[in-house]
């Protein structure tokens, strides 16, 4: 028979149905039987259970005498006193069945569903409309040790007859019919009593009850010797699969319920109890003894815990395991002994070892429930032959008695049914049909009149026939019987019977051959609507059939229909199955079952997820927290990462709460941490709640950990705040924070995070020049030192720093939430590997000898904003310092004041780790094809040996200068790392025009970088003078200095200190000059007239500068010198916007001197004349003359400036230069018109003509006026002149 193959594993649909319906056999035994069996710690029913399946194929002849083979024949053996569980108990059993399924991780087979289903079957009551579950036969069992077995049999027979006579009453057991089969079993203890006596007895029994109705079962061939186990014991204990059930059953029986074990054909298994290799069967057992039942739950709890979170207590338990195992060793079979000895050795065995463990916290003191003890408990006195004999009993019973009996019954029923069919029923149904009122569909509510049939009525006979055929696997006959019974029931409006028959009819069709006939699924529907009480079974079966035929969405509908408000567990289990159905709805139909499934279906993953959520909710309500979290987590896989953040948050929150309830704090932390993610749509209030919850859970976790392990563990990684590792900037060789520097004194700025020009080429040029000068040569591939590392710099090399240098990190901390967050005690987490090995501050207190960590006390991160935080560390030894992350205490900000007083301020310590990735490489073919990223080493800092460190202090470094103003500044240099000598201090400046030092200048041979001036510092000097001169251009200028120093002991290492400050230059004077040759007079020396214009450019309403006085005018030239006697320069102070015009005469000197300085004017009020042979003037002039080498006119001025406090005045002095070449002597310049005048003066002209001409136009029409044009070439070059005349008449 071809069955639709269930593609997803687990029992197939037909197996499920066959499990639900198998022939029930009652057992009626005398008390002494139990005595015999209890040697094995089993009851007789339990003894039979593992063997209740017929191991050979049986054959029957059906009603038409055709041979029909019976396969998969299975018995359901129950004690006669068995009763279905009461409603409350049933609920509890179902719940346990779901709980006990341990392999709770993602498992498409959902073993807990199978076990729930099995339990459901066994909890159903026997009713009169369903005969398949009624006892077909009774086993009467008597022990041979009974003093008078035959009498006992007789008694049992009587007892049975009595019971059967009350068949059909409410609570008692029900028999299929009055002709129930009786089978007599004599159980004989081989060690206790003579076999020959038993044989005799059997003979007597055969005589009394017929040869087919009796059997002798010899067991306990092995003598019981204490608790020793013979090696001959069959290895896997066949009872194990059934006994957990027993445990929970007997647990229940404590509550006063007379529930004896032995439900359905022993299919109650605990799936995947522990599923690991060969150990599984022996290790997976559970205690059987009732006293251990209480432990069972605790054990499972431990089991679960250890599976979900590998428990650190394993090692603690393993020692206890060892004790137990030594006690046990002598009890163990050889193979088992090896296994258990292994366990303590493999202390980390996780599942296996903890599978053996019992909650120690319970204080029960009992640690182990090892399976080996169990296997000794069950069947300890049974040999393999005994087991064969038990199987033989079952086979014998089935083949010789039960099957013939059923065959006979079937034939009888068939005959009686067909006999009446023709006459009575057709007539009856015809009349009913004619006069009957309505359709069944609408009736089930109104028609409450219960139709009761006599047990022997024809309708029930038909139903019986169907049930028998169904049990025997003769589904065609079953279908026909059910079908005709259904018609009868419908006609009689016996809705319960009607529905039952329909259900069975549909199942028969399905089992008959699922894909050859259309399965009447509408039967299920009708059955469902008609009999609410049995609906669960019906729906489950229907959904199995639908699943088997790939009609998953219909199956899901069937299941969802059964969910209701009152039954949480049922709803949960069914919803989960429905969800799985939605997921499988895309499974392509098998080639063997080609009907119905729609092609091209997409899996309805979102419906799956939604129903999983619903299932999780119901699981949660029914107390199945584990399943609830599992369901939520499954659903989360669908929701995650698609932006459905509200749904995600809901799941995370629920999972978090549930984990918390189950004391799985770590998982709770994880789930709640996921709530604090960016882009959350939650409101601020909600986020506050989440954050508080998160912190609360973390505190619990810390407490938990402290209890568990005394050592402080590493800080947890927190989801807040968000740090974009790539934006981290690292500054090595940071300036130490300095005290004792009051405003007039300032320190060299060095490199800071705020510096925009850190990587400007000017610094590289200066450095190159410095290195060249200090070490003689530079490398061809000179690479400037980098101090500031960011995502734009080349980070393939480690940043270099020295001992005792401060390292700063700038971290962008982002708070993605809508509530402010307070961070306290923020500090860097680092790992230092030096000569003494590795060291990390993750576990240590803040200060240690090798690295100093600076702590930022607190910072408030405002909602949805980013803060840049600078954190420092200072290495004190050579090695490699790797910055790994940042640690802090996280707190919500708006803690209520009352809570703060009470001390309930909650905070959680945690860390955020950095992860850096360099830019993607794109250079080679390989890199272009794959994804190759450069390494980024900016957080791994190489710490070198101690180097001298300069501190540079400027005394009153100006921020404002007037153009041309010369201001002295005192510069102090000191080595703040006194243990290391300093040498070779060189200062570089890139603007010698406006900066001069009182230091010898190093003349450079290199023509490149000529703008850069170097000065060598004599280390004996403490301080030097530096002069600043305001630039000619008004506006912001920058003062750039670089200080070079090196350690004489260490070659090729040096340290640079930069200074960069901004100076605002405001206007003062403008200087213009107009130079012309003038007639030289008698001595024929070349003479120049210099007309000079000095203008005060200050605004008229400006009061900062009281007035500028020109104190000195000088001409510095090696050709010309001034004639001081012929200078006319007006005296006086220039007020804003006033100009001063003076004329000087210069004559060409005969001899060449280096400087010809002529002081022309000296205002009497300011006594000292400027000596241009001295610094800084010499230096400034020299630099100026590099650009205009010939002649320089210098105007010195003084002014009084109101000092900043507004009271005193400050005398400032300045100089302006004007230079020209002798070649352009005719040129002059006033700055604003210089170009124009220059061009005009190239050529000068004059015209000579008479202004009055008298002419008589009557005589001659044309008048000619002679005009003479004199052109004079002012320059020394040849000039082409174009002349064009333009007349203006009139």
């Amino acid at each position: 028979m071809m069955m639709p193959i269930n593609t997803v594993g687990g029992p197939s649909a037909s197996e499920v149905i066959q499990q639900a319906f198998c022939p029930a056999i009652a057992v009626l035994s005398s008390p002494d039987v139990d005595v015999v069996c209890s040697k094995n710690r089993l009851t007789f029913v339990e003894l039979l259970q593992p063997f209740s399946r017929l191991s050979v194929e049986g054959q029957i002849r059906d009603v038409n005498q055709a041979l029909h083979s019976v396969t998969h024949f299975r018995l359901s053996v129950r004690d006669i006193s068995w009763r279905p569980a009461s409603t409350i108990l049933a609920r509890r059993l179902l719940s346990e069945a779901v709980t006990n399924a341990d392999s709770i991780e993602i498992n498409p087979h959902t073993p807990w569903y199978d076990s729930w289903r099995e339990t459901l079957w066994s909890c159903l009551e026997m009713t009169d409309h369903d005969f398949a579950r009624h006892y077909l036969a009774t086993l009467l069992v008597v022990s041979s040790s009974h003093p008078n077995p035959m009498e006992q049999f007789q008694q049992l027979n009587d007892q049975l007859t009595q019971l059967m006579s009350s068949n059909g009453t409410v609570d008692g057991p029900r028999w299929f019919n009055m002709l129930s089969l009786r089978y007599h079993v004599l159980i004989h203890d081989a060690c206790d009593g003579e076999t020959s006596k038993a044989e005799e007895l059997l003979q007597t029994m055969r005589n009394a009850y017929g040869s087919h109705g009796c059997h002798l079962l010899v067991i306990n061939s092995k003598p019981k010797k204490g608790s020793m186990v013979e090696p001959g014991l069959p290895a896997p204990d066949p009872w194990l699969r059934f006994l957990p059930r027993k445990a929970s059953k007997s647990d229940a029986s404590i509550e006063g319920e007379t529930v004896v074990d032995g439900a359905d054909a022993g299919e109650m298994e605990l799936p995947g109890k522990v599923v690991e290799g060969t150990n599984s069967q022996s290790l997976g057992s559970l205690p059987k003894m009732p006293i251990m039942d209480a432990l069972q739950e605790a054990m499972q709890e431990i089991n679960i815990n250890s599976i979900l979170a590998p428990s650190p207590s394993t090692s603690a338990l393993s020692s206890l395991t060892r004790d137990e195992s030594t006690n046990m060793k002598n009890n163990l079979s050889q193979r088992s002994a090896v296994e258990i000895k292994d366990d303590p050795l493999n202390a980390g065995l996780g599942m296996t070892t903890s599978g053996l463990s019992v909650d120690e916290a319970d204080g029960t003191g009992l640690i182990l429930a090892p399976s080996i003890v169990e296997s000794e408990l069950h069947g300890g006195c049974l040999t393999t032959e005994d087991l064969d004999r038990i199987q033989g009993l079952v086979n014998d019973f089935c083949l010789k008695s039960l099957l013939p009996h059923m065959e006979r019954q079937m034939r009888l029923l068939n005959e009686s049914a067909s006999a009446r069919k023709s006459t009575h029923r057709s007539l009856l149904s015809a009349t009913k049909r004619w006069f009957g009122s309505s359709r069944p569909g609408g009736l089930q509510t109104t028609q409450t009149v219960a139709v009761s049939y006599h047990p022997e009525s024809v309708q029930l006979q038909l139903r019986r026939l169907g049930d028998l055929a169904f049990l025997l696997g003769h589904y065609e006959l079953a279908y026909h019987s059910y079908h005709s019974a259904k018609k009868d029931f419908e006609a009689d409006q016996a809705w319960l019977h009607y529905a039952g028959a329909m259900e069975m009819a549909a199942l028969s069709v399905f089992l008959q051959n699922g894909h050859n006939r259309t399965i009447p699924f509408h039967y299920f529907d009708k059955a469902l609507t008609t009999m609410p009480y049995w609906a669960t079974r019906c729906a489950v079966l229907a959904s199995e059939c639908l699943k088997a035929t790939n009609q998953y969405s219909d199956a899901a509908l069937q299941l969802i229909r059964l969910t209701s408000e009152d039954a949480d567990l049922r709803s949960a289990v069914l919803l989960e199955q429905a969800a799985l159905c939605f997921l499988r709805s895309a499974v392509k139909p098998n080639s063997s079952s080609g009907d119905a499934a729609k092609p091209n279906m997409v899996p309805l993953i979102r419906k799956y997820a939604f129903h999983m959520i619903l299932a999780g909710h119901r699981f949660g309500k029914s107390g199945q927290k584990r399943h609830a979290s599992r369901a939520y987590q499954l659903a989360l896989q669908v929701y995650k990462g698609h932006g459905w953040s509200l749904a995600e948050d809901h799941i995370h929150y629920t999972v978090g709460r549930q984990c918390l309830n189950r004391q799985q704090i770590e998982a709770a932390c994880h789930a709640l941490g996921a709530l604090l993610k960016p882009d959350s749509l939650q409101t601020a209030a909600q986020q506050t709640a989440y954050l508080n919850e998160f912190i609360h859970v973390h505190q619990l976790l810390n407490k938990h950990r402290e209890n568990e392990i005394k050592t402080s563990t590493s800080l947890p990684v927190l989801p807040l705040p968000v740090i974009d590792s790539n934006q981290i900037r690292v500054l090595v060789d940071t300036k130490d924070p300095t005290e004792n520097i009051s405003p007039p004194v300032s320190e060299a700025s060095h490199v800071t995070f705020n510096d925009d020009e850190v990587h400007h080429a000017k610094w590289a040029n200066m450095e190159e020049k410095l290195v060249q000068s200090a070490f003689g040569t530079t490398h061809a591939m000179f690479r400037p030192t980098n101090l500031l590392f960011s995502n734009t710099t080349n980070n393939t090399a480690h940043p270099q720093t020295y001992c005792d240098d401060l390292i700063s990190l700038e971290l962008p901390l982002t708070n993605p939430l809508r509530i402010p967050v307070l961070l306290c005690d923020i500090r860097l987490v680092w790992n230092f590997s030096g000569a003494d090995g590795n060291l990390s501050n993750l576990l240590m207190t803040n200060n240690n000898p090798l690295v100093t960590t600076y702590i930022l006390p607190r910072i408030v991160l405002n909602p949805s904003s980013s803060h840049k935080v600078v954190l420092n560390v200072k290495p004190k030894a050579e090695g490699m310092l790797t910055i790994e992350g940042v640690a802090f205490d996280l707190r919500p900000v708006n803690v209520e004041p009352s809570a703060a007083v009470v001390g309930l301020v909650s905070s959680v310590s945690g860390r955020v780790m950095f992860s850096l990735q360099g830019p993607r490489l794109n250079a080679t073919q390989q890199e272009r094809h794959g994804k190759v990223y450069a390494s980024d080493k900016r957080l791994s800092i190489q710490v070198g040996p101690r180097m001298p460190k300069l501190q540079v202090l400027f005394n009153s470094l100006p921020e404002f200068l007037f153009s041309g103003e010369i201001r002295p500044v005192v510069v102090e240099l000191s080595n703040i790392c006194p243990s290391v000598p300093v040498a070779n201090i060189i200062i570089a400046s890139n603007d010698p025009l406006h900066l001069a030092f009182d230091l010898p200048r190093i003349e450079s041979k290199n023509v490149r970088n000529d703008q850069i001036a170097l000065y060598r510092w004599d280390p004996t000097q403490k301080s030097i003078k530096m002069w600043l001169k305001g630039t000619e251009n008004v506006g912001l200028t920058s003062l750039d200095l670089m200080f070079f120093s090196s350690n004489p002991a260490i070659k090729a290492r040096y340290r640079l200190l930069r200074h960069c400050s901004k100076i605002f230059v405001s206007s003062s004077l403008s200087l213009g000059a107009w130079i012309q040759r003038v007639p030289s007079g008698e001595n024929r020396t070349e003479t120049l007239a210099v007309q000079l214009q000095v203008r005060n450019l200050r605004d008229a309403d400006d009061t900062s500068l009281s007035g500028i006085a020109v104190s000195q005018v000088a001409l510095l030239s090696n050709r010309w010198h001034l004639r001081s006697d012929q200078a006319t320069i007006p005296d006086g102070v220039l007020h804003p916007q006033e100009s001063l015009i003076g004329v000087l005469l210069a004559i060409r000197g005969t001899e060449k001197r280096e400087y010809n300085e002529s002081v022309v004017l000296k205002l009497p009020s300011h006594g000292r004349a400027v000596d241009f042979q001295l610094d800084p003037y010499r230096s400034f002039v020299k630099e100026f003359q590099k650009t205009t080498p010939d002649t320089t006119l210098v105007v010195c001025w003084t002014a009084t400036q109101a000092s900043e406090d507004g009271f005193g005045t400050l005398l400032i002095e300045g100089q302006h230069y004007f230079g020209w070449n002798s070649q352009d002597i005719a040129s002059s310049s006033l700055p604003e018109t210089s170009l124009k005048s220059h061009q005009q003066q190239l050529v000068s002209y004059s015209m000579e003509y008479s202004t009055k001409v008298f002419h008589d136009f009557d005589q001659q029409k044309l008048c000619v006026i002679p005009v003479t044009l004199y052109l004079h070439n002012c320059s020394q070059q040849q000039v082409n002149v174009h002349y064009s005349a333009n007349f203006n008449t009139g």
């Binding site: 091209n600 279906m601 997409v602 993953i605 997820a609 698609h642 932006g643 459905w644 749904a647």
Partner: protein, 125 residues
């Protein structure tokens, strides 16, 4: 009046979701999410029919005792879902279509906005 309106992007992540009663937002998120299944199913069905010009309006996606969901898919696979109260009998098919047309136009205008990157959650008011 619709109780909830949602725009769902090409990759099935929500672009915009707004409902009248903010306390029910979670519920509508779930419903909206589940609606994607129906939308995809309908798209596949309409693809099978093979006509090039696809009807953008998908009609009723889902109806329960409380709500009804209507779907609409633009040519760029942006899904628009309107959820209305089941008791609301004023909104007929035609009115729903009109709402969808308006929403579609609004979305088109949004995409025309140079500052909007298609696929980002919609934050404009």
């Amino acid at each position: 009046m619709a109780v909830c309106i949602g725009f769902i992007g090409k990759e099935n992540s929500p672009l915009f979701l707004r409902c009248i009663n903010p306390s029910q937002e979670l519920q509508f998120h779930y419903i909206m999410h589940t609606c994607i299944d129906f939308v995809e199913e309908k798209i596949i069905q309409s693809n099978k029919s093979g006509s090039d010009v696809r009807e953008l309006y998908l009609g009723l996606l889902y109806s329960s005792e409380e709500v009804k969901a209507y779907g609409f898919v633009t040519n760029t696979k942006v899904k628009i879902v309107i959820i209305i109260d089941s008791t609301n009998s004023l909104l007929r098919d035609n009115e729903i279509r009109a709402i969808f047309r308006k929403l579609h136009n609004a979305y088109t205008e949004l995409v025309c906005n140079p500052f909007y990157t298609p696929g980002d959650p919609i934050t404009a008011k």
